[in-house]
Assembly symmetry: C2
C-alpha cells in the first residue's frame, strides 16, 4: 500500500444483517478449497520465488519484467487462459541498483549503512568529499548554497531524536481491537484538506525538480538523507526522477538514523566530516516506457462475460525484497487461482486476476486498467491536475462508463502485509455486508470473523471504488508491517507468516468463487460524484 491507513479505533456494534434472500454458500466447494489451501499449499514457493529469486520489483525495472514473465508462465502452467501483460502508458524509466557503500573517513574511519533512493544516479565509481549540511525547504533556499557545493557530499537536514519503541513490534488483532473497527467515523469537514494535499504535492514536486537540477549543476557529489525509521532500518522510496528528460539530480542515499545522526552531530561540533561513497545504480531505459500489469483468467460458463476480479500489486520498493509489500498479496492471489484450478472449480462468471504495477507511485497500473476497461473520467486540461497521478486528480466531469462497467461484479485486493485475514472492510457498501458475513462463516475457525462498514484506503481497490465499482480489502493482522518492514530494507521473506498466507489464499479463493457463482453480481453503493 502506498501510505499508512489510519485506524481510528472506537467502540461499536457489529452490523448483523441478512440479505433479502439467504446467501447460498457452496460449502462442499469451500471444503475443497480449504483442503487444497491448507494441505497442498504452494503459496510459499510462489512467495519465495518472487522475493528471493527475482528480488525487489521496482516498477519498470528488469526484475519487474522478470516477475511479469515468471507469473505469466506459472499462470500458463496452472491452466489459466488469456494470460498476458497489459501495458499502461508513460510510466517512466526503469532503474536498478547492485550495491552501495558509504564509509566515514573523518572524524574517524567507520563503515556507514545507507542505500540509494530509487531513480537516482549511481556514482560512476568511488567519490569522496567533505560533508556539508544543506536545508532546502523552499525554492528560495537554493540561492544561499550557490557556488558552495562543488565536490561536496550533502547532508539533507538535522539529526533526528531517537524515538523509543513503547509497543511490541508485532501486533495481532484480538476481540477488542476487532470490535473497535466496527465504528464508522462520519467525515467531518470539506474537501479543503484534499485540495491542500494536492497543492502541497505539486509544490513538493516542483521543489524536488529544482533541487535535483541545482545539486547537479553545482557539482555536488552525492546527498545523504536520514532513513524514515530508527533502529538501523533503512526506510526509503524514490528520489531523482523516473521521467526521461527530467533532472535526476545527484546520487542520493538514505542512511540509518544511528549513522546519519553521527554525521550531523559531528558537523554541529564543527568537526570536519569526510565520507566516501560508491553506488552502482543505473537507469535501464533512455526513454519513458509503459508499465505492465500481468492479467490472466479462468473463463466462466453461463455468465462468462461478467467479471469477478482479484489482484495485488507486484511492483515493490527496492531496498528489501518486496515481501510483505507485496509479494505476500501476489502469492496469495496467484495461489487462489491455482487452488480454484486444482479443485476443478467451474465458475459461472469469469474470474480474472491482475498483478498490478506502478502501485507504489500512485496506483498507476490499476487505475489505468480500470480506466481502459470499466470507466474513466475525462483527462484533465488543467496542467496542475495533469501533473498529478490519476489517483490524486479531481473528477473532471461525468464518469464515462464503458461496456464492461455493467458486467463487472467485484474486485478483491490484498496489500497489508502477510498477516492473517481477520475479516473485511465493506467500504461503506452496506448491502455487501450480510453477504460477506455468510461468506466468512466457514473461516471463523481460522480467525476471519469480522465485517466492518469502514473504508480502508491507499491501494489498488481504490481504483475500482472511485468509479463506483465494488472493490475491497481484507482486515489483516498487521504483524510488524508498520514497525519494521513497510518500504524498508527489512521487507524480506523472514518477516512473513506462512500459515497466514495459506489462510488468506483459502479465503480469497472462496470469496471469488462465491462471487462468481451467486445469482446476482455484488451490490454497488451509489457513486458519490453522480
Amino acid at each position: 500500500m502506498i501510505k499508512r491507513c489510519m485506524l481510528a479505533v472506537g467502540m461499536g456494534l457489529a452490523f448483523v444483517g441478512s440479505a433479502g434472500a439467504a446467501e447460498k454458500v457452496d460449502l462442499e466447494m469451500v471444503g475443497k478449497i480449504r483442503q487444497e489451501a491448507f494441505h497442498r499449499s504452494q503459496v510459499m514457493d510462489t512467495f519465495s520465488h518472487l522475493t528471493e529469486s527475482i528480488g525487489p520489483r521496482l516498477t519498470n525495472s528488469p526484475a519487474m519484467a522478470r516477475a511479469n514473465a515468471w507469473t505469466r508462465q506459472k499462470f500458463g502452467e496452472w491452466g489459466l487462459v488469456d494470460v498476458h501483460d497489459e501495458a499502461f502508458e508513460d510510466f517512466g524509466r526503469g532503474w536498478e541498483f547492485d550495491s552501495a557503500s558509504v564509509e566515514m573517513l573523518a572524524p574517524r574511519m567507520a563503515p556507514l549503512y545507507a542505500l540509494p533512493k530509487a531513480w537516482t544516479p549511481g556514482t560512476a565509481g568511488t567519490v569522496e568529499g567533505e560533508v556539508v549540511k544543506v536545508e532546502i525547504k523552499k525554492l528560495a533556499d537554493l540561492e544561499k548554497y550557490k557556488g558552495t557545493l562543488r565536490g561536496k557530499i550533502l547532508l539533507l537536514g538535522d539529526a533526528r531524536e531517537y524515538k523509543r519503541g513503547t509497543e511490541p513490534d508485532s501486533h495481532r488483532h484480538d476481540a477488542t481491537s476487532l470490535e473497535g473497527l466496527q465504528t464508522f467515523a462520519i467525515p467531518g469537514g470539506s474537501d479543503t484538506d484534499r485540495a491542500k494535499r494536492v497543492k502541497e504535492f505539486a509544490e513538493r514536486q516542483e521543489l524536488a525538480r529544482a533541487t535535483n537540477a541545482f545539486f547537479a549543476e553545482e557539482g555536488a557529489l552525492a546527498a545523504l538523507s536520514i532513513s524514515g525509521w530508527d533502529n538501523g532500518i533503512i526506510r526509503v522510496g524514490g528520489g531523482g526522477s523516473r521521467k526521461a528528460g527530467e533532472p535526476v539530480g545527484i546520487p542520493e542515499l538514505a542512511m540509518i538514523a544511528e549513522h546519519y545522526n553521527q554525521l550531523a552531530r559531528a558537523l554541529e561540533r564543527e568537526q570536519p566530516v569526510r565520507v566516501r561513497v560508491n553506488v552502482a545504480a543505473r537507469f535501464t531505459d533512455d526513454s519513458d516506457q509503459p508499465g505492465h500489469n500481468t492479467v490472466a483468467e479462468i473463463r466462466g460458463s453461463g455468465k462468462a462475460d461478467e467479471i469477478v476480479m482479484l489482484g495485488a500489486h507486484m511492483d515493490s520498493w527496492h531496498t528489501g525484497t518486496g515481501a510483505a509489500d507485496n509479494a505476500a498479496g501476489v502469492a496469495v492471489m496467484m495461489e487462489a487461482m491455482r487452488i480454484l484450478k486444482a479443485v476443478g472449480a467451474k465458475p459461472r462468471r469469469t474470474i480474472r486476476v491482475a498483478l498490478w504495477s506502478g502501485e507504489e507511485q500512485g496506483l498507476i497500473g490499476s487505475q489505468a486498467y480500470v480506466a481502459r476497461h470499466f470507466a474513466n473520467y475525462p483527462e484533465p486540461t488543467d496542467p496542475a491536475q495533469k501533473a498529478l497521478p490519476a489517483s490524486l486528480r479531481e473528477p473532471t466531469g461525468p464518469l464515462r462508463r464503458l461496456r464492461d462497467y455493467e458486467k463487472f461484479s467485484v474486485y478483491f485486493n490484498m496489500d497489508n502485509g502477510s498477516g492473517r485475514f481477520r475479516g473485511i472492510y465493506a467500504q461503506e457498501n452496506i448491502a455487501a455486508m450480510p453477504i460477506f458475513e455468510e461468506w466468512l462463516k466457514p473461516f471463523h475457525d481460522v480467525g476471519a470473523t469480522t465485517v466492518v462498514s469502514r473504508n480502508t484506503g491507499s491501494t489498488d481497490h481504490i481504483s475500482f471504488d472511485r468509479v463506483g465499482l465494488p472493490g475491497f480489502q481484507f482486515i489483516q493482522d498487521r504483524l510488524d508491517y508498520f514497525s519494521n518492514v513497510h518500504h524498508s530494507n527489512l521487507d524480506t521473506w523472514d518477516h512473513a507468516e506462512p500459515e497466514d498466507l495459506k489462510q488468506a489464499a483459502a479465503i480469497v479463493a472462496a470469496f471469488v468463487y462465491n462471487a462468481a457463482m451467486r445469482d446476482e453480481k455484488m451490490p454497488r453503493k451509489p457513486l458519490l460524484e453522480d
Copy 2:
C-alpha cells in the same frame, strides 16, 4: 557487561533495616552534588567524545589507546591526582577495521549487510567466490570438508527462524517490577554447572582454534555467520584470535539475519550463490601487548590510605560506538569525579576511579587490578585452568590478601546501559543494605528507591566480590539494552538517555562521597572460600 544477567522476577518483601548507629548523610553536600550534576552537567560531552570522536574501543585497539589518553587528560584538567594507565599483562594484539562490504552476485545482485568479527583478518582487497554451507560442531566435522573449501566463501550454519517481537523494545521499571527484584533466589544445585561451563568453554576454544587453522589451510576466502539478533541488527563479538601465534583463521563477518537467511535458503533450493567480500581490517601489533586501565584519584585527608573506588569498563565491542556498553558507565564515573572536584569535596578516604579494559573478554583488566592491589589466588598449575580467563578459574588455594586488602572500603560499578538508576543490588551483603537505604533517600525523587539483597553479575564489580571485597552495581532501567544495543551495531549515541546519565552521576558521586566520609569502612560479607 559480558553476558545477559537473568532477572528471576518474583514477589518479596523489602528489607527494611537500620544500622546499629543511624547512618549519617551530609545532605548539604548531596544538595551540592545534585545541583552540579543536574544543572552544570558535562556527562553528555564526555559521552559524545568517547562514542563519536573516539568511536568504538576494542581492548588494545588504537582507539582504546586514544580513550586512555583522552580520559587521563580530562582527569588532569579536573584536578585529579596520580592519573596514570596501569598495565595488565599479555592481553593479546590490537585490532581495528575501517570498512566492510558484501555483495550478492548470484542468484541476483544485491548489497548485503555484514560486519567483521573482531580479531579476524581483512581480505586484502576484494575476494569473490561461490558460497558453500559448512557445519562445524565438533573436531571430527572438519575432516569431511577437507579439500573442498579452496576459493569458497563459507556459510557457517542454517537459516534461523524469525522471532517476532512481542514485547516493547524499551522497558523501564515500575513499582511491580522493582518489588519483584526483592526476592532472593536461594541457589539450588552444586558447582556441577560451573564445571560444565568451564569444560564447554575449553572445548569451544579448542574447536575454534582448530577450525581457524583448517579454514586457512584449506584456502577458504571468507566466512559468514548469522547475527545474534533479528531485525537488521548486527550483534557480534570476536572471532579469529587475539593471541599472537594462534591461528586467526579467515576473514569472518556476521551478517544481518534477513540477508544471511536468503543465502542459506538459496543453497537449500540448490541455487548457485556467489558473493563478493571486502574487509579492511588489521591487527595493529605483531606481538601480545598488555592492556591498560586508566586510574586517577582524589586524595583523602584523615583516612587517605583507605580506598573507595568507582569504575566502569571503557573497552567495547567494535560494530557500534560502545555507547550503552559502556561509554555510559565511563561518562557517569568520570562525571562523578568531576562533580566531586567541582563541589569542593574533601573526602576523608581516597576516592579512586578506574576505567577498565579487557572487560568484554572476561573482566580481565579489573581482575588483574584487584589481584595486583588487593588479593589474589595462586596461579593455577593445571594447564586447562591456566587457559581460562581468570574470572572463570576455580580458586586454586587460600586467598592471598595484600597490604591494601584491609584498607579497601567499597567499589561501585556501572555497566547496564544508559538507563536510570532505580536502586542497588546489595550482592548478599545484608549489613550494607540499611546503609544504602539511607544513601538513596535523597534520590527517591529521581526514581532511585530500591535496595535488594540479590546478586547481579558479569561485570567488573565481580572482580572485587570474588575476593570478598564489597563491590556493587546499581539497578537500572534496561531501556533497549537487551533488545537493540548490547554488543550490536546499534550501540550508539542515540540510544542513550541524557537525563538518566545525569541522575546516575549524581547518585554515584553521593555514594562514593558517603563511603569516603563515614566512620567505618563498608561492612563485608564473609568470603565463601574461607
